[in-house]
């Protein structure tokens, strides 16, 4: 009897997920969104456990325990590791979908109708390719694998052929589900394609790629919904798929690039003509003491954080700097470029973790008009997103990319390890401007020194 309630539980779960995402749109309601999301998942799991097909709970219980034991520590990782963690969880989600698809195939084939087989092939293809692609992304973000793009001749031809053969195997299975030997071919090629897809992707493109994998993991779950004829799976998968899609579009737009260009363009290779030797251009250096003096004399400061801040784990020192300057009556804002860091919103969570109020964090469109009034723009580990060449140099690989107008501030201070060009291997014109001062060193150490100088010399 009780199983009659299951469809209602699923319906309530679907509504909860939609509400969860709706409430996540702004900070004051966001936590309520998470809670309603948890409630939705509890309804979905509870409803599923009531289903009459389930004859034993032993393995399910064991898997719940194992998942919790792994899941809790994964939620406790430091905020600097969030991009890696996200890649890893995309891998788990996609693997679950692919494994269920595999099990369903062997349970049903060859008595499987064409449409179900098509959805199943799509589920398995997307699931397995997202699994290995996410693991590769994890490896690159964790720096187990080299973060630089690796390219070779005819790479795109090879990759597209693998995908083509995998899709062909899937299509043949739709026509002839009795050709079960093709299923492992589909699975293995999907796994291989996932690896090959990420090999040419560099660190700077990770925000787009992680978003895209997010979308694929969702679509794979939606495909599972078609196989199992379960609307809840279809709806939740579609929500996830559209979320990943929107984020990837935002990331692409913020780099003025297309999907195809991100996936097949192998951005960040050494560019011909970049870093021309012989042309020694002059930069002006400054010490932490001088930097502190300039900051003290300012009334408006805009901090521009980038991946370098995350790598140096400098966010807590940046908070101390924020506190010191704010106490001295200086207006401090943070300018966040959409692709700063290694995943969408990366800088925001780091700064929030360090207790910097979120109303100080400004998006690119809002903050760009404020740079001309700023006394100091302090660039911390950001590079390409501040390069004025994106505005006027047609030969630059980043030409057309929307940038933060850092060069319009009265004084620009750049904290940087060395003069090595950034990820994309492009020299940054910003560093050679008359108004630019370079403060060399590790972001955490430099900001720490500036804070110390401010505390020591702040006798006015």
């Amino acid at each position: 009897m009780i199983e009659r309630a299951i469809p209602l539980l699923y319906l309530a779960a679907a509504a909860s997920f939609i509400l969860a995402l709706k409430w996540l749109s702004s900070v004051p309601t966001a936590r309520r969104g998470v809670l309603v999301g948890i409630a939705g998942m509890a309804l979905a799991v509870g409803g599923t456990l009531l289903r009459p097909e389930i004859v034993s709970y032993r393995w399910i219980a064991a898997a719940f325990v194992a998942g919790t034991v792994i899941g809790v520590p994964m939620a406790m990782m430091p905020m600097t590791a969030v991009p890696q963690r996200t890649a890893l969880s995309h891998a788990f989600g996609a693997l679950a979908a692919a494994l269920v698809g595999t099990a369903e195939f062997y349970l049903r084939a060859p008595r499987i109708d064409r449409f179900t087989m098509g959805a199943l092939a799509l589920e398995v293809l997307l699931g397995f390719l997202t699994f290995t692609a996410s693991l590769m992304a994890f490896g690159k973000l964790q720096e187990i694998l080299p973060a630089r793009p690796i390219t070779y001749r005819n790479q795109n031809v090879v990759n597209l052929s693998i995908l083509g053969v995998a899709a062909g195997a899937g299509a043949y299975l739709v026509a002839r589900p009795e050709a079960a030997w093709l299923f492992p071919v589909l699975a293995v090629l999907s796994l291989v394609f996932g690896v090959m897809l990420i090999v040419p992707i560099g660190g700077a493109d990770m925000p787009t790629v992680i978003s895209l994998l997010n979308s694929y993991a969702g679509l794979s779950a939606a495909a599972m919904g078609f196989v199992l004829d379960n609307k809840l799976l279809i709806i939740a998968g579609a929500l996830d798929g559209s979320s990943g899609l929107i984020l990837s579009v935002i990331m692409c737009r913020a780099m003025n690039r297309s999907f195809t260009n991100v996936l097949f363009g192998a951005f960040g290779q050494v560019q011909a003509g970049a870093g021309t030797v012989g042309e020694q251009r002059i930069v002006r250096g400054a010490t932490a003491e001088e930097a502190a003096g300039i900051l003290q004399a300012a009334s408006r400061v805009i901090v521009v954080p980038g991946y370098g801040m995350a790598v140096a784990q400098a966010q807590h020192k940046v908070r101390e700097l924020y506190d010191a300057l704010t106490k001295a009556g200086i207006d401090v804002k943070f300018a966040i470029h959409p692709v700063a860091g290694r995943m969408p919103g990366h800088m925001n969570v780091l700064l929030a973790e360090a207790d910097i109020p979120y109303d100080r964090l400004m998006e690119m469109e809002d903050v760009n008009s404020e740079f001309p009034q700023a006394d100091v723009a302090l660039v911390l580990g950001a590079n390409d997103v501040t390069n004025p060449a994106a505005r006027h140099d047609r030969s630059s690989p980043i030409y057309g990319m929307p940038i933060l107008d850092v060069d319009k501030a009265r004084t620009v201070m750049v904290v940087k390890r060395s003069m090595n060009p950034g990820f994309a291997g492009i020299d940054n014109e910003l560093y050679y401007l008359d108004r630019t001062l370079m403060v060399f060193g590790d972001a955490k150490a430099v900001v720490g020194n500036i804070v110390r100088e401010l505390a020591g010399g702040g006798g006015h």
Binding site: M41, A63, L107, P344, A352, Y358
Partner: protein, 98 residues
Amino acid sequence: MSPELEQGLYAFLLATFVGLEIIRRVSPLLHTPLMSLTNAISAIAVVGSIVVAGEQKTTLSTVLGTVAVACSTINIVGGYLITYRMLRMFRKSGKDKP
């Protein structure tokens, strides 16, 4: 086209449009929590996994289903927990952390 398929396609279409409209409104400030939350939601694959693991039709399907339940559980537990942790960090100026 079977009625189930037709309904499924309608559900997919409408959910995609709802998703696009809702998620377009999410502040860029919260893009990282958004991704971890959608990650937890897409662990809805747990529904299919539980059935495959629990119906115990073949050894292969039980093993695959069990692994799938474990993977989904990782994302459910980890995804909601880290999203909640992140959101607790966001505070406005002049306010202490709750």
